[in-house]
Symmetry: C2
Subunit: 418 residues, 2 copies
Amino acid sequence: MENKLKIGLIGLGTVGGGVVKTLREFDGQIEIKTAAVRNLNKKRDVEVNELTDDPFKIVNDPEIDVVVEVAGGIDPAFELLKTAIKNKKHIVTANKELLAKHGAELFDLANEYNVAILYEAAVAGGIPIIMPIKTTLKGNKFKKVAGILNGTTNYILTQMEQKGISYQECLKAAQELGYAEADPTGDVEGYDTMYKIATLANITFNKRIDVNKIYREGITKISAQDIKFADELGYKIKLIALAQDNDGQIDVRVHPMLVSKSNVISGINNALNAVMLEGFPVGQVMFTGPGAGEFPTASSVVGDILAIAAEYGKCETILPMTRCHHREMASQTDILDTKNSYYISITAQNALGVIGIIGTACGKNKINISSVLQKGTLEDGTAHIIVITETCSERDIQNAIEELKGQGIKINNLIRVM
Amino acid sequence: MENKLKIGLIGLGTVGGGVVKTLREFDGQIEIKTAAVRNLNKKRDVEVNELTDDPFKIVNDPEIDVVVEVAGGIDPAFELLKTAIKNKKHIVTANKELLAKHGAELFDLANEYNVAILYEAAVAGGIPIIMPIKTTLKGNKFKKVAGILNGTTNYILTQMEQKGISYQECLKAAQELGYAEADPTGDVEGYDTMYKIATLANITFNKRIDVNKIYREGITKISAQDIKFADELGYKIKLIALAQDNDGQIDVRVHPMLVSKSNVISGINNALNAVMLEGFPVGQVMFTGPGAGEFPTASSVVGDILAIAAEYGKCETILPMTRCHHREMASQTDILDTKNSYYISITAQNALGVIGIIGTACGKNKINISSVLQKGTLEDGTAHIIVITETCSERDIQNAIEELKGQGIKINNLIRVM
């Protein structure tokens, strides 16, 4: 390359700082021309040629070739990236929320203006997953993509399990350590995971996913007891994102699941992420690694920048394989139409009688019970009953649960089994 | 693309057949013009437009754009690919032996003639690993790459462990099932793994590896007892390929290792493969999946073909990131200069006296013992002693072993610990 590729960086926080530090090694190839920040006077441990507090200066700067957006959020990121694309700049972004909510519009615009949008860092941090799906695995027809896509919730669930403590205690500790935000909603209620699985499902099935149709449950209702009972039955509890193609119907969802200890996903602990892909001809492959953090995320952002640098100015269409060509909206499955095996935790005054009632309610709703575990008698005379069902429909299990509740039976939790 | 990309396929065995079947889905883009086979009259379950028993016809055919070599071996593959490159054809190959032994010459030639050589299928079958290292992870400086790269030996070790049977019994069963070849040397003595780690080390450290300088040990000396003792100590035994950069010295080797059960690599069983990469800024990432077989290997071959198809005719240099630009030979570490922790299995007539002698020999050679396990007394009055050392130099442990042998002590096995 005769000239250095010129980068405009939007956001100079944790990830932006990691990008600047990592790009130092590629000084001869790439120059960060300008970085946009909120507060020009804030002290930073990285230096950039030029700072601005107006990110629109970057997307309108004719000297800038690639806009790297690591600020997050919808406003003003959406407007910024649309403007940058119309100015024929290639985009590298880590913004999973923006891609999940407005990806379709951005990808259409990018095709119109013949620029690439790369977003390896938006899903599973440092784990290479977008590029492998689009290149090496391109010959596959995928059946399923599933995994652990959020480090904060996986950290909390791992700590709950290893220390036997409650969700609330664990969240507090995670907040003190900086692993969870002051307002943890985006992580613990599964929004972050939902944005990521929307993008993964997009490229895995080459169809557009409506993020509003993704079923989502967080981890706030998981108790220390659920984790303990699951353990006794041979499972761990993980917040699982999954998308599967059932004859053209795409079932996309995020919720906690019991994962058998014999499944390697059960061993993915703390802030690690994992993505499993199943398709033909490859069979099953899995990728694990750090799902967040300054440097792992910078690794993916810089990989994307270097990919653009390698082809910039040399091809009529750079990085053609990484373009998103999906146009068709996926037909998404309603959660009630899915089939799962379930873990049901019940507290009962009269264990034997209750087991009878459960059996009747399940039978009536075509649900076969796989196993029942009765956990002694508590101080107040009540007992815990854990039921694991065979695969049945979500609609049927919800009906059975309503019936049981109607009969005054206390359902502590209903968790799907992987 | 106006015209279909025309493929010449050398080899129509298991992998070649999988490639033909997988490419059917991409009929509009890619045409297999000719396939070269050994025996034109053999019955096959795939059809190709044109068959030939002269592979040189393919590499000299001006209509063919890409030569896909899945025949294996050095002769005539090396000559064929050199000719193809000089005829300006891009190359897709699954030939790990050829790349390990003659990769340098092929890559130089490919640079000279401005063609790409892609070889995703040559390492770890269906697992995307070459492309991620070259693209998404390009911003990293790697410290280590390690993993399980041979399905046959991993299958044998897993079965030995799960069934408690000997290596010989297990090999026989694997041969009957078609998991091991009639002459299993290439797999069980670690040659196949060695070829693969040579290629992985090349691209991970961007230096050329002399395959003759790779230390190699197979699995033939692993006993059912070693596996049982390792299990009691909290380890599994795996055939590990590893390459690490110690201040510019590249330590590349293949040998069995005790892997702690807390390390996910210990859970990679049967024909699965795994590759772990460690570097900055990404940290540690791991890829697992099927390491061999018709369809997983075809997945990687077809991914490479589609990558070429995507850029063919549109760029002055197609797939610039996937080119190998290494020129420098790596300075490779002698096994005697490596540091490891060791498992030593000893049979002794007089356990207490022998433990004293071991202690003395280790002390003299600056080796600290981490733990000693004495396994009862056998029928003939002898006892088993298992020693695990702390990290020490290979030179020192070899000296200690020689001293112990000199004193008539029976060393059953010496295995490194991961």
